[in-house]
């Protein structure tokens, strides 16, 4: 397994909510990453981030790993949830909060 793939997998398994983004939570480098972070801040749940701009190999490989061509990408409990549009849509319908709360209420099944 490539080292970049290991970094991807350890980020996903090490953070219940893991956001692959451009920049970091304080200085997002892209409007879509910023919007995604903003939603998790609103929900008020802890999350981890991976800055793909500072790790070009991860930036390249996460797209194939998730079969998803764009950044940001959000994983919750090891499962790919979606990019910015999907997170927005799930937030509008309230489903995102349900996913976040249900997974925090019980230890992640692996």
């Amino acid at each position: 397994m490539s080292e970049a793939l290991e970094r991807i997998q350890s980020a996903i398994s090490g953070n219940r909510i893991c956001i692959f983004m451009k920049g970091n939570r304080n200085f997002p480098q892209c409007g879509f990453s910023a919007a995604t972070i903003q939603i998790f801040e609103e929900i008020g749940t802890p999350y981890g981030t991976v800055d793909v701009l500072s790790d070009p190999e991860v930036r390249d490989q996460i797209k194939a790993y998730s079969n998803w061509p764009t950044i940001p990408q959000v994983y919750i409990d090891g499962k790919f949830i979606g990019g910015c549009d999907i997170i927005r849509e799930l937030h509008e319908t309230g489903e995102l909060e349900t996913i976040v709360k249900s997974s925090s209420a019980q230890p992640a099944a692996r």
Partner: protein, 82 residues
């Protein structure tokens, strides 16, 4: 750089029978928003639906398009929104 109408044709070709609207959000030919309505989305989650559209776009998604805001609906969902 790409015309919204070209992007629309690429999606329509990749998802036969789909109703597609594409708007160039900045006028710069690389930021778009698209509405795609297709019965192929029935029974699929949002991730799978978006993957269907990304697959239809193929290389266009990797090269010409910087950002694409996607809305994917089944025909029934689209009816309900009117």
């Amino acid at each position: 750089m790409m015309e919204a109408s070209v992007l629309q044709q690429i999606i329509e070709r990749g998802i036969p029978g789909a109703y597609v609207e594409v708007r160039d959000t900045t006028g710069g030919g690389d930021h778009f928003e698209a509405l795609v309505v297709s019965d192929k989305f029935e029974g699929k989650g949002l991730v799978e639906r978006h993957q269907v559209v990304y697959a239809a776009l193929g290389d266009a998604m990797r090269e010409a398009v910087h950002a694409l805001a996607l809305k994917t609906l089944t025909p029934a969902q689209h009816q309900n929104r009117r």
